[in-house]
Symmetry: C2
């Protein structure tokens, strides 16, 4: 988004207290772009949000929000930085298929990595040496094969996965770190140098406003982006109470593959992986196992054309509109009528929604408006 | 079988060159008990076996067979020894449900162990220390829970499983070794002392005549009895080419559960287990996992009444005969008509076949004769 005016409205919407992902989507569904939300007026806003929020949205932005917008726009102008909105063509297509894509993403580094086929590698913060080595080796093999390796910048498995996948070679994959803090902060501090290297040869992504400190509540929520950006999630070592199991659960809810590395039955850090395997995760012994499994689902994995396949083309939008008709229709119906891949349908629907051509109804149904 | 005359005919049948499990069953199906086979005469025998075999069966037994019968009868008279025939009430009910139950079993030790709920534990001959310890601990826990632990007396995992499960306490389970040699031989020699202890507190079983030496060809075939006697097979450590995978395959063909213990992806001895898990075997971390899984299938696991549930009662035979009618009928039809458990049906059919009341037709169909 080069047009600062449009972006500042997106920023303001996401920075307003009481506007979470769902409320933002409701408002955008009803009014169109953020600027139309702010010009809608109290009476119209009051019909879909609480009075207090309607008052804030129809008034001028507060001083603190105005200052934060200014700061964010300045940040976005720095080389390598980018703020992507849901309406951007570069918004990661795989996130469009999850239940609650963030309206804004703060991105630093190689944005092209966000549209490659991706595998997340997650696991324990207090991993064993063998676990760390496994994470790094799997990550390197996947990156060598051209995939993006996604993780959460945490200590332990996350850090080793980033290290293993980092590559300055643009024909290979590299790594994306999804952080739970604002993009101007690094957590944990021990990973400051790693984060700087990822900003150059990889990519850092956060949905949280600049300045957001590390807060326990934000990390589990962040995990849905780790799985959502990926075609599959590999759990390397995880105790039974590990946060990695939340990421695996979220992957299943999003229809992603879950892979797990087995280990000794006497290792507490294998128990989480074993539980996942018993629940249906694929047991993997090598990166090759993952590549073979994903090749089934990503015929384009070798030529990195997933992005173009998943991003709605103009003709796909037309096909969707035509297939939708003017009666409420489900995504399954659309899939059957258009024969388009699900990811393309989700992406297309969101684009059409943003353009005000269709609306989402209760129960995941869609209706054509024009 | 106390009647030596009947037993010597069973022995002669099984000792005759050219009479394997299938031919024995064909002959018994057609003529009834072994004594009726030998009195049938050349002309009748010629209709179902090659001329040379028909001549042998209709003549007097050769000197070497007569000597072997004498030896076997003397062996069977020694305390603790037993030769079980397919017609015996004590023949293990679980073996009656496999495709090719041996006509004769040479048994030494606690015969009651053959009718308890059983789990086989198998694995590599060149196991790791951890693998040996796992085998012994799982075996002990299963034996403590009242189960019989079955294995093949080989070096490595087999030996540790027998050691772990051996118990002189009759209220607990113990162990059964299915050997690939005659019951008067011990292979490997290193397990001579173990075999002697199993003969006292556990049970040794072989389908091979006395004097049969260790022959490579006999061991894979023996594996079908290890799985067939069990409700489930646990593979502890196995390389990709391990004979244990043959036992697991045979377990699947026989409708038994397969369990596998995972391990490090860097251990060649975990690869066989991992392959099994990928193919659907249940990943287990403790003996408790196995007990929980089997409890689903063995409601009587706690009171050891599996034998009485599976052995055909007189009224069950009547019900089967009545349900069979005089038209060819499949086991599935009989299961639907009688609502009896499959194991009881197989056991009942075999008993009725032995009594000459029904015959088995091609394609696994049965027809009532009287």
């Amino acid at each position: 988004m080069t047009e600062a005016e449009g972006l500042s409205d997106w920023l303001r919407l996401s920075l307003t207290d009481g506007v979470g992902t769902q409320t933002a989507r409701d408002l955008l569904n009803r009014f169109g772009l953020p600027e139309q939300v702010f010009s809608a007026g109290f009476a119209a806003l009051q019909k879909c949000v609480p009075d207090k929020l309607a008052r804030m949205l129809s008034a001028a932005p507060s001083e603190s929000i105005a200052a934060q917008i200014k700061l964010s726009l300045a940040w976005a102008r720095q080389p390598g930085n980018q703020v992507l909105t849901l309406a951007d063509h570069d918004y990661p297509p795989s996130l469009l298929s999850i239940a609650d894509p963030p309206p804004l993403l703060y991105v630093k580094g190689r944005m092209d990595l966000l549209s490659r086929p991706s595998v997340a590698i997650v696991g324990s913060r207090s991993a064993t040496q063998q676990g760390l080595q496994n994470a790094a080796r799997f990550a390197q093999a996947l990156s060598d094969a051209g995939l993006t390796v996604i993780s959460g910048l945490a200590l332990g498995i996350d850090g080793s996965a980033h290290e293993g996948a980092l590559s300055p070679n643009p024909t290979q994959g590299s790594t994306v770190a999804i952080t739970g803090t604002g993009m101007d902060r690094v957590y944990p501090a021990k990973h400051r140098a790693l984060a700087h290297r990822i900003a150059i040869d990889g990519c850092l992504v956060s949905e949280y406003p600049l300045g957001t400190p590390a807060m326990a509540a934000n990390f589990p929520r962040r995990n849905r982006l780790i799985s959502g950006l990926s075609q599959g999630v590999l759990v390397v070592e995880a105790a039974l109470q590990s946060g990695s199991l939340i990421t695996a659960k979220s992957a299943l809810e999003q229809g992603r593959e879950v892979f797990a590395i087995p280990g000794s039955i006497h290792s507490p850090l294998a128990k989480g992986c074993h539980q996942l395997i018993r629940q249906g995760a694929k047991l993997v012994e090598s990166a090759q196992d993952i590549l073979e499994e994903l090749r089934w689902q990503l015929p384009s994995i070798s030529d990195h054309q997933v992005h173009s396949a998943a991003t709605p083309k103009h003709s796909e939008s037309d096909a969707l509109l035509e297939a939708a008709g003017y009666d409420p229709v489900s995504v399954d119906d659309l899939a059957e009528r258009t024969r388009l891949p699900l990811m393309a349908i989700h992406a297309g629907l969101l684009a059409l929604e943003m353009q005000g051509q269709i609306e989402m109804l209760a129960g995941g149904m869609y209706r054509r408006l024009r």
